[in-house]
């Protein structure tokens, strides 16, 4: 609709008081030296360019080329090529500073590192005790973990009770103000700190304000970066589609994604050797606070993954089909670990101290716990330009991320490029946007190193199948509560030959007609059923996890984030 558009211009570049440094229509050469410096800082902090826009159509001209309504703002999606190191991590871990958890920061960090993680985030629950005491007290423990484990990047964050919604990981780049920013954020914006008289609308607005606050702290140079991921988003049906969109739009440099799979993956292990509950603790039902449109299927896990991600043509795809950059992760949500032999120390006073005393060894094996140690089962693999806090945050913000359970595969490199490009390792990586002239042929190149090492359950997982999922990009939705993407489906499946060591696939994506995105999924092939949108959309999707009998090691999947292909 040309320039007479009716959509909201609410990203920060369009704000009336936008500083010159943020206005990308002003070239560097026309900025004052201080603004050039400021722009450099912001670019370095990931607040300009790659990954910082709500939409892949944010760059001028991109949407018009695709024949769609445009949005303003910097270009979205990662564009860097090659040379990434893939750093495994977990952004959702609890300690003795959570009223329902028990371990020291060092217990969790040591285990996470031993089990193969390169980075992790300590995310104790927002609460009165945490906001007043825990958020300060946990910091020395985190500093200690950083010095004791130099090979592990240990972020401080918290698990935010999003007003009117579920929980979210919020974390910041380390620095002298990390505690101050987190503390002010929690005391002002945590759901536990809101007046009980607040209406649903007031709470939703407060959630948006909290995300904006974090971005403002970065732009004010208090911290070098802040990120938000919605945790276990479909668990109770309280993260409505419009809230997810509003969070992303509140500040796309902060709110960048959600858990594709929840933690608590041991909770479905069959009794008496396990808890015999629901995988992920996904055993809730619609409540008065739930979004009324969600089906009952959304309250359960599918192959261990959250319904928003597991459903081909579902909520996640509806965001990607808009061109809305929104990434997925997997985490442990580790509180109390399956088969661990320790317990809370006696004599703890959590409310007074903001923490439990250090755990004590009991010799009693806990078979009813639902969690794994960080790194033991799931991992979020981030393509980083270096081993650093900033590079991990940049990679997450850019969506250069793939996730797996139980070490299903060893490594993955997926790119989309102009077909026939003779250069090795060329192409646009995960999270990126490839722009080509209409009619140009593109192809997916996919290299997977199959697993040759035993996982932490002592077996070598075998990848059986890889699915290529493609969706047409149709631009912004009129109804922010949309959660279906009718043009997204599995377009191709590759069976992996038994005994293979490597999968190398070139898959032609045809001549570019309409803008589209692509994402990948793989499985051990043990459990599948037709997808919720029908067998024509997803013939062999993840299967509903049984209550009380969901062996997490017998049902392994990997998922990648998307790559977009747009006309220029």
């Amino acid at each position: 609709m040309g320039h007479g558009h009716d959509h909201a211009h609410d990203d920060f570049t369009a704000a009336a008081d936008v500083p010159a440094a943020l206005d990308l229509s002003v070239p560097d050469s026309e900025l004052s030296p201080s603004d050039v410096s400021r722009r450099g800082f912001l670019r370095g902090a990931g607040l300009l360019g790659a990954g910082a826009a709500a939409s892949v159509f944010a760059a001028p001209g991109v949407a018009e080329a695709a024949g769609l309504a445009h949005t303003h703002g910097p270009a979205g999606g990662g564009t860097a090529k090659g040379g990434f190191q893939w750093l495994a991590g977990d952004h959702h871990i609890h300690t003795q500073y959570s009223s329902d958890a028990m371990y020291r920061v060092l217990d969790q960090a040591k285990r996470g590192h031993a089990y193969g993680l390169d980075w992790l985030v300590i995310t104790d629950h927002g609460s009165n005790a945490h906001a007043k005491i825990g958020v300060d007290k946990v910091n020395p423990d985190i500093l200690h973990a950083r010095s004791a484990l130099p090979g592990l990047l240990t972020f401080q964050g918290l698990e935010w009770n999003i007003p009117a919604a579920e929980h979210a990981t919020v974390f910041v780049h380390p620095g002298k103000n990390e505690v101050d920013v987190l503390k002010r954020f929690e005391q002002t914006y945590d759901g536990s700190q809101q007046p009980t008289t607040n209406t649903e609308a007031q709470n939703e607005a407060q959630a948006v304000a909290g995300i904006k606050f974090l971005g403002e702290q970065v732009r004010a140079r208090k911290i070098e970066g802040a990120l938000f991921f919605a945790n276990h988003p479909a668990r109770r049906g309280v993260d409505s589609p419009h809230e997810v969109r509003n969070w992303r739009d509140a500040d796309p440099s902060v709110a960048v994604g959600m858990e594709g799979a929840p933690g608590h993956q041991a909770a479905g292990i069959k009794a008496p050797n396990g808890r015999g509950g629901a995988r992920g603790y996904y055993d809730n039902n619609p409540s008065a606070a739930s979004f009324p449109g969600y089906p009952l299927e959304s309250y359960r896990t599918w192959g261990g993954f959250d319904w928003m991600t597991a459903t081909v043509g579902g909520l996640w795809d509806s965001l990607l089909a808009e061109g809305r950059a929104w990434w997925i992760t997997v985490n442990s949500d580790s509180h109390v670990v399956y088969l661990d032999q320790s317990d809370h120390a006696p004599g703890s006073d959590f409310e007074a101290n903001g923490k439990f005393n250090d755990p004590v060894y009991t010799g009693v094996t806990n078979t009813s716990a639902g969690d794994f140690w960080p790194g033991y089962y799931g991992r979020t693999n981030v393509g980083a330009s270096s081993f650093s806090y900033k590079a991990v945050m940049d990679g997450l913000r850019a969506g250069r991320v793939w996730v797996d359970h139980g070490r299903l595969i060893k490594a993955l490199d997926a790119r989309v490029r102009v077909a026939g490009d003779p250069r090795a390792a060329s192409g646009t990586p995960l999270g990126g946007v490839l722009q080509v002239k209409r009619g140009t042929s593109t192809e997916l190149t996919l290299d997977i190193d199959l697993q040759d090492m035993p996982n932490w359950a002592t077996f070598i997982p075998v990848l059986k199948r890889v699915d290529v999922i493609v969706g047409t990009v149709t631009g912004p939705v009129a109804d922010k509560d949309t959660f279906v993407a009718p043009n997204t489906k599995v377009v191709k499946s590759f069976e992996v030959s038994p005994g293979s060591q490597r999968v190398s696939i070139k898959y032609g994506l045809g001549r570019l007609d309409k803008p589209f995105y692509l994402r990948l999924r793989g499985t051990d092939g043990n459990r599948s059923q037709p997808g919720l949108m029908g067998a024509a959309v997803d013939p062999a999707g993840p299967k509903l996890d049984a209550i009380g009998d969901a062996d997490p090691w017998g049902d392994l999947w990997f998922y990648t984030n998307p790559i977009w292909v747009l006309p220029k």
């Binding site: 959570s98 009223s99 329902d100 629950h125 927002g126 609460s127 009165n128 945490h130 009770n161 579920e166 929980h167 759901g191 536990s192 209406t199 649903e200 668990r235 109770r236 069959k270 009794a271 015999g276 509950g277 629901a278 603790y281 055993d283 809730n284 039902n285 619609p286 409540s287 008065a288 606070a289 739930s290 009324p292 009952l296 299927e297 309250y299 359960r300 059923q529 037709p530 919720l532 299967k543 509903l544 049984a546 209550i547 009380g548 009998d549």
Partner: protein
Amino acid sequence: MTIYHSTAALSADLVTPAGTYGVPAGAPVIGVSRGHRELAEADHWILSLVPAPVLACTHLVREPFPHVAISLVGAAASAAAAASAAAEVPTAVRAATTAPGVGLLGGLVAPAGAQAVPETRSILETLPALETPPALETQPTLQVAADLAVAGRSGRAVLFPGVANLVGTLSVADVLALSAIDRIEILGGEVPDPAALVETNDFVRPQYRAGQLILTVMPAVDGRLVPFESRTPTPCCAAH
């Protein structure tokens, strides 16, 4: 025998359309809102009614704030008066409404041995309409919710004909034969085998959809099925 009052004052839309609630057309529906935030609170209130209603459903409403409203069919005036007192002895009430062999209607109209669904329905057909008893009244600010409950076509049934029979482990066929549940669906689309076993956990909350009372179940241990809704869902966390 409970005495029911004539209800000439009830408007036409306050009675059940044919089939909507699995009870005959003409049975009056009473809408109630007590502002319960949680389903468990509404369930508890419903189960404290003496004698028990024939049909009691919860309805998730968003007006004037998100909470659980309630619709009742066959709730007796005397029941309402006893409700607040009964709330203190829910165990006894629960026993009265769920004891195997004691039909749901036992406390209401009490024909000895009335349990089977066909009989239940024939009894209902003889029920005269009733007025909203004073103790079932709703605060004016919540009346909108009570009205939504009455208009609701998607109630979650807490009490319904035959619920008392749904205890222990039953086959799919038995669940359908012993209660007003019209259909059982497996989450995710699989078709249930009539011989498949359902572990009821003595907690069965079917939902109305398009006039049919449907119990959604899901796969559980050893090929058995469990109702979708659990009596004890995991709380969101202990911290707030």
